[in-house]
């Protein structure tokens, strides 16, 4: 391990821890050895001191237990109202966390840190409430008795004989910013108790006798003093590290604790925790999962997962390693992780065949040459798991066991029947093989226990039915005694082997199923194209995996490219299997909690366990993306470790997949934004050019007229005035186009059609364009067969005018412009052709787009970029089509308009008068 502590620089972790402390509220704990030492009193006095220093002090919850002097101290402190909770018909007053967070005082008093909240509260424990208050940056004063400390739990029980159910993790005390030890010599305390100054609940009166004995109190006092001293020690080390003070640091040790299925495993975990604490060392809890795991009783499996969870709560890193050679796996892991000390429990003495149950501990001791191995005594007292783990598993699993034994009996009976039939034809010794086969079958199918039962039953029935004397359990022939004895031995060994094979097969099948499950899942979500498909695949798969219901909640309307963080939008149900569209308040609160704290919440967790759903945060390296909710039908216990690990893996994969779809839509949004931005800047550049060019001429000409009024001759003056007029008209046309376009774009342009002669329309357009033409020749050729058309004459004139205007702009001066009409295939066709450079084939469709010009930018003839777009809008509003084509012989451009002649549902067009 690199010895960074040798550096003179402060260690980064230490500084980071300090920095984190800056933002959080500060926690001060008044620590006492027993009730009645005066913690609450001291806390209130400290609060008054703070108040005098102008701190905003508020009482969150303080229990005075009717003590006068304590109550007197509450005067002058603002107390927040408690939250009334209804539980099983009784009213309870709990601290109102939300009221505190809303009130945002500088300092809040919270008595009895170890208190367990009434079910239905947000957190199981009060220290979790305090955690949340600290997180909000509010300072907290609180009180704690030493016996409530998790790691001391079993020691306290040994000393006092009382099991304390309300515990707080050691980390709470460890992370407290300040600890004040409230110390009282045992004799004084006992005196206080006699004087009735110590509050003791009635039901605990008996136990108190033992609790308040001088011996117990002295022991507790010593523990409290030591806890405080260790704290001071740890603080000093932290300080020295943060300030880069050279010193003899405790060497960085690492402790590994081996988690087995023994009943003493919780004691083992707590011992490891204390050892780690004393040495200021990180510790790791490891369980090696062998093939036997599948056949363990449910009780043992739960114990293992509870022990791992307890270790995690006490600050350990936990691992489950698959493998069959427990000691070897543990040692390999220890070597890999640089472990200095291994802590293991003492093995139970083997009940049967001790050699087959070769103790893991013994093997560890024999082989762990480079580690210290500490063996902890394994009293088989029924030590329960920590209370915080919630509901205990109900006894099931035995049903399966009993079936096994019943089947063993049935099989024995069947074997006897078969043997009896066979014995009519065969020699006796061979009959035992039938029984052996039966034992093997039972072993493979039902495991070790039933197969041993079957072996014994078979031996007895064999003896009863087939050895002389028949129908007694006596054996007269020594040969038969041997036969029965060897039969029993063979059956034992065979059933042991067969059972092991069976459980190995089971374990392999389980792991294969897990792998197949994950593989199937990743294939499903990889194939999903959009977010809805991914979400559907996730909820469907999760529901099928846990045999329950599942939900995915995502924050509302994710903003592309913006890190929403936990404060982002409201969580919404985005998918559910079976479909679900609402959550009750408890579930919603748990979901919000899981989202904002990135920790599991709801049923089976320690936060809001009354929620019917368990919510897991979906997170990736970039942060949280949503929440996965699961509900297991008809089961009232935490998920098995296998399921919860599998669920965790599924949640991780789901999170990555959801993020992938988020990223895809981010990219799509970014692309759209770029496109919109491009259009916007094209529009701006066009507007800027088209409005400013005529304005420049007008302003320039007008200012010239004013500045040089005296020195200009009449011709120049006229010229300038003419410029002003021409350019003002040009500006007007552009504004007209813009208005038309706006109306077209908003769908407000409705042609007011009437029967119109196209000749009139073209004639007036040419006349209007005359001024632009300047000695340009316009040839108009009209097909005499052209009937009257239903058109809006004004709009169609604008179309023809725009086309002539365009033709003039984009062709050399002096070349002619042709307007040509014909009747073709029931359509009136109008073509406006010029002899300019023409439009490249790839641009012929796009010239009709708004603000598109063949030559980008403003370095081209003054066009509006709107003319053709307007033409298309108008022509299409008439049900016609417009297209750009190359002119005759591929030279120049022809804009071709096709207009429908008479629609069937329209009244017959009046005949054109053929008179000239």
């Amino acid at each position: 391990m690199p010895d960074t502590d040798r550096d003179d620089r402060p260690s980064p972790e230490a500084l980071l821890a300090e920095a984190n402390r800056e933002r959080r509220g500060r926690l001060k704990i008044f620590l006492g050895a027993a009730p009645g030492v005066g913690k609450t009193f001291a806390m209130l006095e400290a609060a008054h001191d703070q108040r005098r220093e102008k701190t905003d002090v508020v009482v969150g919850i303080v229990e005075t237990h009717g003590r006068r002097d304590t109550e007197a101290l509450l005067d002058g402190l603002e107390a927040l109202p408690r939250r009334q909770v209804d539980y099983r018909g009784r009213q309870f007053a709990e601290m109102d966390v939300d009221a505190i967070l809303r009130r945002r005082p500088g300092l809040v008093l919270v008595d009895e840190l170890a208190h367990t909240n009434i079910p239905g509260s947000r957190h199981v424990k009060r220290f979790q409430d305090v955690e949340e208050i600290l997180e909000a940056g509010i300072d907290v004063l609180s009180t704690l008795n030493i016996q409530h400390l998790e790691s001391l739990n079993d020691v306290v029980e040994r000393i006092t004989g009382i099991r304390v159910r309300e515990t707080v993790p050691d980390s709470v005390l460890q992370d407290a910013d300040e600890i004040e030890l409230i110390d009282l010599p045992p004799r004084t305390l006992i005196k206080r108790l006699r004087e009735g100054k110590v509050y003791v609940p009635d039901q605990a009166m008996l136990a108190m006798e033992r609790f308040f004995s001088p011996g117990t109190l002295t022991a507790l006092r010593e523990m409290a003093l030591r806890a405080a001293a260790e704290r001071v020690d740890a603080q000093m080390v932290t300080y020295m590290r943060a300030h880069a003070i050279q010193g003899p640091w405790p060497t960085r040790e690492r402790i590994l604790v081996c988690i087995g299925d023994g009943k003493a495993v919780f004691r083992l975990v707590r011992t490891a925790r204390r050892a780690a604490e004393r040495r200021q060392a990180p510790w790791i809890a490891v369980h090696v999962e062998t093939h036997r795991h599948a056949t363990l009783p449910e009780e043992a499996k739960t114990r293992i997962s509870d022990a791992l969870r307890l270790a995690e709560q006490l600050g350990a890193e936990t691992h489950v390693i698959p493998g069959d050679k427990v000691a070897a796996e543990l040692l390999a892991f220890a070597r890999e992780r640089n472990i200095s000390q291994i802590i293991a429990g003492r093995a139970r003495p083997g009940r049967w065949l001790p050699s087959l149950h070769a103790s893991v501990t013994a093997e560890l001791l024999a082989r762990a040459d480079s580690f210290d191995v500490t063996v902890v005594s394994g009293e088989d007292d029924a030590e329960p798991a920590p209370a915080s783990l919630g509901v205990r598993p109900r006894g099931f699993g035995w049903v399966g066991k009993w079936t096994g034994y019943a089947m063993a009996a049935v099989a024995t009976g069947a074997a006897t029947g078969l043997s009896y039939g066979l014995s009519l034809f065969m020699e006796l010794p061979n009959i035992s093989l039938v029984y052996l086969m039966t034992v093997l079958l039972v072993a493979i199918r039902y495991g070790l226990g039933p197969s041993i039962a079957a072996s014994i039953a078979c031996a007895l029935t064999y003896n009863f039915f087939f050895t002389e004397p028949l129908f007694t359990l006596d054996i007269s022939d020594t040969q038969n005694i041997l036969t029965v004895a060897f039969f029993l031995l063979t059956a034992f060994i065979a059933s042991n082997l067969a059972a092991r094979v069976g459980s190995q097969v089971e374990a392999t099948r389980l792991s294969a199923r897990r792998t197949a499950n994950l593989y199937g899942f990743s294939r499903k979500i990889a194939a999903a194209a959009n977010q809805d498909d991914v979400l559907w695949a996730v909820v469907h798969h999760v529901a099928a995996t846990i045999h329950g219901r599942s939900l995915v909640l995502l924050p509302e309307a994710p903003v592309p490219g913006l890190d929403m963080g936990p404060d982002g939008g409201q969580l919404m149900i985005r998918a559910g299997y079976p479909p679900e569209d609402r959550l009750d308040d408890k579930a919603r609160a748990a979901a919000e909690w899981a989202w904002s704290h990135a920790e599991p919440a709801g049923r089976g967790s320690t936060t809001l366990p009354t929620s019917p759903w368990l919510f897991l945060p979906l997170q990736t390296g970039r942060g949280p993306v949503g929440v996965l909710g699961v509900q297991i039908e008809g089961r009232d216990r935490p998920l098995s470790p296998e399921d919860s690990r599998l669920l965790g893996t599924l949640a991780d994969q789901a999170a990555v997949a959801i993020e992938r779809t988020n990223l895809v839509s981010d990219i799509e949004n970014a692309r759209l934004a770029t496109e919109t931005e491009r259009l916007r800047s094209a529009l701006l550049s066009s507007l800027s050019h088209d409005l400013r060019t005529p304005l420049a001429s007008i302003l320039g000409a007008a200012s010239s007229l004013i500045s040089y009024e005296g020195s200009l001759n009449a011709a120049d003056r006229l010229d300038l005035t003419q410029t002003i007029q021409d350019e003002a008209e040009r500006l007007n046309r552009f504004v007209q186009n813009l208005l038309d376009m706006t109306r077209l774009g908003s769908g407000k342009l409705k042609p007011r059609t009437d029967w119109v002669d196209l000749r009139d329309v073209i004639g007036s357009a040419v006349e209007r364009a005359a001024k632009l033409l300047r000695r340009r020749q316009v040839r108009v050729e009209i097909d005499p067969a052209l009937p009257l058309l239903r058109l809006d004459a004004m709009l169609m004139e604008q179309v023809i005018f725009n086309l002539i205007d365009n033709a003039c702009k984009y062709s050399p001066a002096g070349t002619p412009v042709t307007v040509w009409t014909a009747l073709r295939h029931g359509h009136a066709v109008v073509e406006v052709c010029d002899q300019g450079p023409g439009i490249p084939a790839e641009d012929r469709e796009r010239v009709f787009d708004m603000f598109y010009r063949v030559e980008e930018g403003d370095s081209r003839a003054a066009g509006t970029g709107l003319g053709l777009a307007i033409c298309r809008g108008i022509v299409e509003a008439h049900g016609g089509r417009i297209a750009a084509q190359p002119g005759l012989n591929g030279a120049g451009t022809c804009i071709v308009i096709r207009l429908p002649v008479a629609d069937a549902d329209q009244p017959e067009a009046p005949p054109i008068e053929t008179v000239e």
């Binding site: 400013r692 005529p694 420049a696 001429s697 007008i698 500045s707 370095s859 003839a861």
Partner: protein
């Protein structure tokens, strides 16, 4: 009589420019396209060029480069684009000044006069400048304001020299940085702001409202010697 070349594709703009410039006493040569303009700049050797950036054949920016290949004639750019990057590019390519369309004829005339004055003043006495109570003599590394001598650091002196040699001309940030600090610092405009401020403290009578070293927003600075505008 000064000869001015007008390069613009808009006949109306050419028309009023021709009329006004002629009325002021300049001789006007016109060109309709960029190519014609570049040729005319060579063939006619004008005393000043007025160039529109939006031309039908080649980009006006390109025309600046073409003209600068053989001539240092002052170029005033006309642009409808209010976009700073266009102005900066034109100036970096060697244009002397710009006017944004639409503009009054008075504004253009002021720029024309400034450009021609800069040329003549810089030609007659490139290292000396006297404006109101301020005297600058670069050869003696001297700046005197209202009779008080101002001490200039070497960098301030280098910066001031650049301004004096290019009096009345807009200098872009990049041009100044390249000249004074070297090509590696062409984007460190923070340096520039600091030194310009220091120069203003020493040379301007009210450094809060500078009238000598004026800011051209988004483009650069100009040392103004002539009339207010």
């Amino acid at each position: 009589m000064l000869k001015i070349l007008v390069i613009d594709d808009e006949p109306q703009i050419r028309k009023f420019l021709r009329i006004s410039l002629t009325a002021t006493g300049y001789k006007v040569v016109e060109a309709e396209t960029g190519a014609q303009g570049a040729d005319a700049a060579k063939a006619e050797s004008p005393d000043l060029v007025i160039l529109d950036l939006g031309l039908p054949d080649i980009d006006g920016q390109e025309v600046i480069t073409l003209i600068r290949e053989h001539s240092q004639v002052p170029i005033i750019v006309l642009s409808v684009r209010a976009d700073e990057t266009d102005k900066v590019e034109a100036l970096d390519r060697g244009a002397d000044d710009y006017v944004v369309k639409p503009f009054g004829i008075g504004e253009l005339m002021a720029r024309v006069r400034a450009a021609s004055r800069q040329r003549s003043a810089a030609a007659s006495d490139p290292d000396r400048l006297r404006i109101g109570g301020l005297t600058i003599d670069l050869t003696r590394r001297l700046a005197v304001r209202d009779g008080v001598e101002q001490r200039l650091s070497p960098k301030e002196h280098a910066l001031l020299s650049l301004f004096v040699h290019n009096r009345d001309k807009i200098l872009t940030h990049a041009q100044i940085l390249r000249e004074v600090w070297g090509p590696a610092h062409a984007h460190d405009t923070a340096y520039l702001r600091v030194y310009v401020n220091q120069l203003r403290q020493k040379l301007e009578s009210d450094s809060g409202r500078p009238v000598l070293i004026v800011t051209e927003p988004g483009v650069g600075y100009r040392l103004r010697t002539g009339e207010e505008r």
